[in-house]
């Protein structure tokens, strides 16, 4: 399915908030996404990270070295901190949010160390998440859709339809996209 040739498409959110799963969902619908094999699948992301430059794209953005023209009409993954450095352009962003405790649990698992100052870390990330959302909402060159990771697991059809409508795409591949939502990957799930 084709996207607008003049627009850069971004999947974003805090790290460990479901961004890789969103990329997989888009990929399943034959929506063009760009990624490389610089970071191999592992226990933290068994199906892969679906990112560019080993996830170090933020460094390129900070230095003004990322070529957005090369990625028009394609989705790339830029985690939330990188959104601060988007140059003027035309963007559609799907921003994934997740229960903050699950995000922190997943970060700790990936790093392999328990956070001794977890409450402080949590507050910093909450403030950061709120700040980033405000920043992108205030940009005139950006349209954003907020998807809740926990809700997409509960009702994939409803949330994937939101994504397709946001992208002005038909619902032809809806079932393929829904299949990607794999509850067994929900390793830090809280009880509902």
């Amino acid at each position: 399915m084709k996207l607008d040739k003049k627009t850069n498409y971004i999947v974003s959110g805090l790290e460990r908030s479901g961004t890789s799963m969103l990329m997989q969902i888009l990929y399943a619908a034959d929506i063009e996404i760009s990624f490389d094999n610089s970071r191999k699948p592992d226990d933290n992301n068994p199906r892969g990270y679906f990112e560019l430059d080993g996830g170090k794209i933020i460094n390129l953005l900070i230095n003004g070295e990322f070529n957005f023209d090369k990625y028009k009409a394609k989705f790339i993954k830029i985690t939330a901190y990188g959104l601060r450095f988007l140059p003027p352009g035309k963007y559609k962003i799907i921003y994934c949010e997740r229960n903050i405790e699950e995000v922190l649990d997943s970060m700790e698992k990936m790093i392999g160390i328990k956070d001794k100052n977890r409450d402080d870390t949590k507050k910093s990330f909450i403030r950061f998440n709120n700040m980033i959302k405000k920043e992108i909402n205030n940009r005139k060159d950006t349209q954003s859709l907020y998807i809740d990771y926990n809700e997409i697991l509960l009702d994939p059809e409803k949330n994937i339809k939101k994504i397709l409508n946001f992208l002005d795409l038909p619902h032809l591949q809806l079932n393929k996209m829904i299949e990607i939502v794999d509850k067994t990957l929900y390793r830090q799930r809280k009880i509902i």
């Binding site: 970071r39 460094n59 985690t79 901190y81 402080d120 990330f125 403030r127 950061f128």
Partner: protein, 73 residues
Amino acid sequence: MNEKKFINIQIPTALANKIQKRIEGTEFASISSYVTYVLGEILSETEEKTEETFTKEDEEKVKNRLRALGYLD
């Protein structure tokens, strides 16, 4: 002296009955456990919505975490 870990709270019977029906077949073993979960979520959401400024100190904490995760040099 033993520290009290729980207090008793009253809710209308009609509400309790609704909750009982809702939790049938779920992982919640009791009305208390469900109510505890829901109130915890609400308080958590309220904390998340608090308008607080993102400080330089916050930014350093976030960046340190990104470095540890391999997203920043």
